[in-house]
Amino acid sequence: MGDNHGMPTSSATPGTAPERQCATRVVLADDDVLLREGLASLLDRSGFDVVGQAGNGTELLALVRAVRPELAIIDIRMPPAQATEGLQAARVIREELPGTAIIVLSAHVEVDEAMELLAGGQRVGYLLKSRVTDVADFIETVERITAGASVVDPSLVQELVRARRRRDPLDVLSPREREVLALMAEGASNAGIARRIYITEGTVEKHVRSILTKLDLPESDTEHRRVLAVLRFLDAR
């Protein structure tokens, strides 16, 4: 998911350009204290300001309302039922404080949950919990999301792209276009895609236009809409 330097990416939108002296304020929600502390430590080291931690959805909501963080990183499974409490909390935050970036971490990723999360708007991430172990990649993703991107865990995207259908609509795409499509679904910007697969941004743009045309996806001006459209297509085909 990009290079290992943890640098702000070009996908950052104007006006929210990250300033190190103004660290992103983050709250964490996970009922596993050890993991939560480990994650907090990692974020601290990476220049984030962890302003609060919560052990369940209720605490999280209270915390978010109180400290108004820029980012909330939420475990999907929390007490009391260990089901999708994180998802529900995310929904409430989305409603109450739509400006808050949200990353939902899960032990496994499911397309339905991804769709639901992404439908809520921009600045949303849905990642496997194990992604945090690849620190640089994770931080880069977190920053992209904070900056406005929407990101779906690559494993899910790859699974959807790999899944084979009879009369597969993706058959119309070239292998390169499939690659670009997967990166689009993962929320990569054209520049990000260009960097990832070593082609020029202009070439990426050409591929993207071709993909959108071939798959009859609506043209969209924001990255979020682009990801959403691609994901919906992947799910529905």
Binding site: D32, L42, T84, E110, V111, L128, S130, R166
Partner: protein
């Protein structure tokens, strides 16, 4: 004749004293010739009338008289002319009948039983017979009796218009002819008797044929009545069966005129009074009553309605028991012949045989029918038919097998002394179960059955006092039998068979219910056993599913969290060691990579153990994920909107998962379809591929495991996998039955209950008596 008579007849009649003259010898020769001619006729078996006519002529010519006659005496003190010769032809024609009164030869012979001579006859005769004698001017006449086997049968008479008396030997000469006549009559009589015997034998043979042909008893009885009537030449025949100690039932009738019998077949009359059938019932021996000396209801009916005058009855015994009686009667004032009783005996034996064989046959047929019914029921029980189906079938079979049944019910006790009807049958034409089911009749017998825990019967509810019996009668129930149903040693319920007739059930009917109640008990035990087994299997599967789900959670929330935490710590260590030589950092990096690999494996393992998405997103979401991970393209169609019970969703998921795994591994298929739909109370899952086929349940544990899982929650699984033509796996999962507890299904729409209480016989309440 007159010339002959005057020529050689001795004037004083003293012929015997004269020495034989040439004339006397000629006369003897003539007489012998005449006798021989008649004897020849007799020996040839000529009809009596011919013999009589010949005798009259021979006598007339031989004695040289003007008139010769044969008369037969009748029982009413009359005589009938059976032969006439000479002047008699005109005045005493054959067939004419004369009263035996007044002074005349016939009457004198009848009264004295000896030869009689009358001279100056015309002057001295009187009575009806005297008039023609006077008219003819008969002067001298001789008559001799005809005795047949010792009894006076009739008379032979000869008369002359000559003033001179007939010769003195006339009486003895007539006597030689009367003997011939008697022989002829005796011969004829014995021939008649022989014919009658043959006729009787033929009649018996016809009846015997009917009996042998297994003709229904009613037909045999009718045939016996007719044959008896014809053979015995009576006016009426009545065949009766002694119904109980008090009544008889008419089972066969015949009237000579063909008029309908005043008491038809099926009619019942009370015994008692003085009449033939009551006498036979009392003594067990033949009885005879002449004329109208009768009393009692039977006597009244016999004399008033039937018009019987003289009647004879003989007993019919079947299997050493007095069964009934055959009655023959005259409607006229005439006595039945003395041998009537004797002649009826042959018929009574046949009737007895018919009854015995009919009974044996009916018993055999009943037995066969009962066995067939029980076999049908046993088959239903064995194939695990639902209990309510078995209950209904048992009621129907028992109702049809137990003779006399109008209703049959299977009842189950509940905890509060209430017997609930769980299966019922009513004979077509019966007034339905509705009125009966509250058990007004059943109450009586069910209390007895419950009390004693053994079969019981109530033969006449009307005989009981109290409202129950009255109400039962109102509903038409007169008698019933019942037997307990015990399941695993505990009283479960009872069977009741009821009739609208009193005493409808043969003895032992209540015990014949045992075969049926045993089958009910087996069906219940089976159903309970199956229900328990099914519940147990469902529990095992549910427990296994819950365990898998827990393991999946434990993996995600425990091991995975620990691994992520570990990796984070390693990263922290790596960060802390950054200024240090690159080797340590690289080693820490590799450790993180190992941890990441372990996380990946863990995720896969957890997914295989239990798809978390199933609980969260439902069957559609889970199947979608499943399909997206299949290496073979999957066409997935899910027509099930709502969430389904967990066992159903889990089972459907595993069916699809196992099937898709098999397709990927063995089918060499190009594509596979998964169709899921809710059809009423059933979820259908179909997985079809276009691969090589040849799959079967014995092939591996996968399909067998599916079969076990599906059947454990009451579902069905079908596999169609012809070699080279793809594989279809169809599964039906009941949506409602997957709740865990499998209740024993009971009863149909028309459920009725009734309280078992001490009903007609003042029995103590069940609760008390069971405690004893």
């Amino acid at each position: 004749m007159n010339t002959l008579g005057t020529g050689d007849g001795a004037p004083d009649g003293r012929v015997g004293r004269d020495p034989p003259s040439q004339a006397r010898l000629g006369q003897l020769a003539d007489e012998q010739a005449a006798l021989r001619r008649v004897a020849t006729l007799v020996a040839r078996g000529e009809p009596p009338e011919a013999v009589f006519a010949a005798v009259a002529e021979e006598v007339g010519q031989l004695l040289r008289v003007d008139l010769a006659n044969l008369f037969r005496y009748e029982p009413d003190r009359t005589e009938t002319c059976v032969a006439a010769w000479g002047m008699a032809r005109k005045h005493f024609p054959v067939g004419s009948r004369w009263p035996l009164t007044g002074h005349n030869l016939s009457t004198l012979v009848f009264e004295s039983s000896h030869p009689v001579r009358v001279d100056h006859y015309a002057d001295r005769s009187s009575g009806a017979l005297g008039a023609p004698i006077r008219e003819m001017g008969i002067r001298s006449a001789v008559g001799a009796p005809i005795l047949v086997e010792g009894t006076q049968w009739g008379a032979i008479l000869a008369g002359s218009t000559m003033e001179q008396p007939l010769p003195a030997d006339t009486e003895s000469r007539l006597a030689s002819f009367t003997e011939l006549v008697a022989t002829a009559i005796a011969n004829t009589n014995s021939r008649t008797a022989l014919g009658r015997l043959a006729e009787e034998q033929a009649a018996l043979r016809r009846v015997a044929t009917l009996v042998a042909r297994a003709t229904p008893p009613a037909q045999v009885f009718a045939a016996v009545a007719e044959e008896v009537g014809r053979v015995l030449a009576v006016d009426f025949t009545i065949l009766v069966r002694y119904d109980t100690q008090e009544t008889l039932e008419v089972v066969g009738t015949w009237t000579r005129t063909g008029a309908p019998a005043p008491t038809p077949v099926g009619g019942r009359l009370p015994l008692g009074g003085r009449n033939v059938t009551t006498l036979v019932h009392q003594t067990g021996r033949p009885a005879r009553i002449d004329y109208s000396d009768v009393s009692g209801v039977i006597g009244q009916v016999a004399s008033r309605d039937w018009g019987l005058r003289s009647s004879v009855g003989v007993p019919v015994s079947a299997e050493n028991r007095l069964w009934g009686c055959i009655v023959v009667a005259f409607g006229r004032l005439e006595l039945l012949p003395a041998d009537t009783e004797h002649r009826l005996a042959g018929f009574t034996e046949l009737v007895a045989t018919a009854i015995a064989s009919t009974q044996a046959r009916m018993e055999l047929r009943d037995f066969a029918e009962e066995q067939a019914a029980l076999r049908r029921l046993a088959t239903a029980v064995a194939r695990g038919a639902p209990p309510e189906e078995v209950f209904a079938a048992v009621a129907a079979e028992a109702g049809q097998v137990i003779p006399g049944a109008d209703f049959a019910l299977v009842n189950r006790y509940d905890a509060t002394r209430v017997a609930e009807v769980v299966g019922g049958w009513a004979r077509a034409g019966s007034s339905g179960l509705a009125g009966l089911l509250p058990g007004l009749a059943g109450q009586a017998v069910s209390t007895l059955v419950f009390e004693r825990n053994e079969p019981a019967r109530v033969d006449d509810l009307a005989g009981d006092d109290g409202g129950i019996a009255l109400a039962a009668e109102e509903h038409g129930i007169r008698s019933c039998v019942g037997a307990p149903i015990s399941v695993a040693g505990r009283p479960w319920g009872l069977m009741i068979v009821a009739s609208t007739r009193q005493g409808a059930f043969p003895s032992g009917a209540e015990h014949r219910l045992a075969g049926f109640t045993e089958l009910v008990a087996t069906a219940i035990a089976n159903a309970e056993g199956q229900a328990a087994l099914a519940a147990s299997r469902a529990r095992i599967v549910a427990t296994a599913d819950q365990t898998r789900r827990r393991i999946e959670r434990d993996l995600h929330d425990g091991a995975q969290q620990r691994l992520v935490t570990l990796a984070l710590h390693l990263r922290e260590a790596q960060a802390a060691a950054l200024p240090a030589p690159g080797e340590l950092s690289a080693q820490l990096g590799r450790a993180v990579a190992e941890a990441s690999g372990a996380l990946e494996d863990l995720r896969e393992t957890a997914r295989g153990i239990h798809p978390a998405i199933l609980a969260k997103g439902g069957l559609r979401a889970a199947l979608k994920t499943l399909a997206s991970r299949s290496p073979i393209p999957v066409d997935l169609r899910v027509a099930a909107e709502d969430r389904l019970p967990e066992p159903v969703e889990v089972s459907a998921y595993y069916v699809a998962a196992e099937a898709l795994t098999n397709v990927a591994r063995h089918a060499r298929a190009a594509s596979v379809s998964v169709d899921v739909e809710v059809a009423g109370e059933v979820l259908r899952v179909a997985v079809r591929d276009d691969g090589c086929g040849g799959a079967d349940f014995s092939g591996g544990t996968g399909l067998v495991g599916l079969k076990d899982r599906v059947e454990a929650i009451g579902g069905r699984i079908f596999l169609d996998s012809p070699r080279g033509a793809g594989t279809s796996l169809h599964v039906e999962l009941p949506i409602t039955a997957a709740k865990g507890d499998v209740a024993l299904p009971v009863a149909c729409g028309k459920r009725r209950s009734f309280l078992i209480t001490a009903a007609p016989r003042c029995l103590p309440p069940i609760g008390c008596s069971r405690g004893r």
